[in-house]
Subunit: 162 residues, 2 copies
Amino acid sequence: MAFCNITGRHLNSLVKTRSSAVVSSAEAKWNVAKLDVDSILKEVKFNSDGLVPAIAQQFDSGEVLMMAWMSTESIVETLKSRRAVFFSRSRKKLWRKGDTSGQYQHVHDFKLDCDGDTVLLTVDQLGVACHTGRRSCFYLAVRDDGLEEILPVVIDPDELYS
Amino acid sequence: MAFCNITGRHLNSLVKTRSSAVVSSAEAKWNVAKLDVDSILKEVKFNSDGLVPAIAQQFDSGEVLMMAWMSTESIVETLKSRRAVFFSRSRKKLWRKGDTSGQYQHVHDFKLDCDGDTVLLTVDQLGVACHTGRRSCFYLAVRDDGLEEILPVVIDPDELYS
């Protein structure tokens, strides 16, 4: 049992910090004209390829939709346009999500973690996030004795990329 | 405006795939004794360091708590113990989250994305996920003209690591 070492102080902290829902309707406010992009980029720790992982989460339901990578340029464009722009490692170029598939992500919030090495975008995902036509890329889950597909295909991938 | 190119078929898909809340009370069921771990590991695309990024999300609220890295060994131990075990890149060894801080993560579900290169753990986080004493590591957010701290310190870090 994983929780066997819990002491009083940790139980107290558990009570104090019990999670609240992430569901929210408001977009975070920032002023594109006044945004000090350099001060934000200074806090981001890019890897040796100049990229940082970025998680996209649906703003109201809390679904984790996908994980992709961002470059300096994609962060700047995302902040200025409020549309999720990643960097495709396979195509080695900016990936404006939705340009091919139509499945855009409108950015509600842009967060950075304590180490500055991961971005969290809360977004409003139009349609589906996954190239397989599923709402989220995380559709394989451990069940019974192995991995199972737990999400349906809601848009035919042939339709997404036609 | 990001959504200006939306066509009828995409609006239709939006309606059909409108997100539902991730909040859930049930733990995913798997049979530790029968688990075909090799078949799961075969689907994971580890990077050149033998690691895969893993997102930890609070199972009921949907909060994204942190992102860390997993090795083959940490995946196997996580699946068998249902406690989140990562691989510390700085210490170059298994990181059984909670061993030092007491802030364990009990694993509710283990998911893999379409490319097999990111893991999503839904967990029940005891206390706080962040070493700074905040509930989530994602406490820096873009507001007004730059980054602001948006989450309070709920446990003194000195207390976490004493």
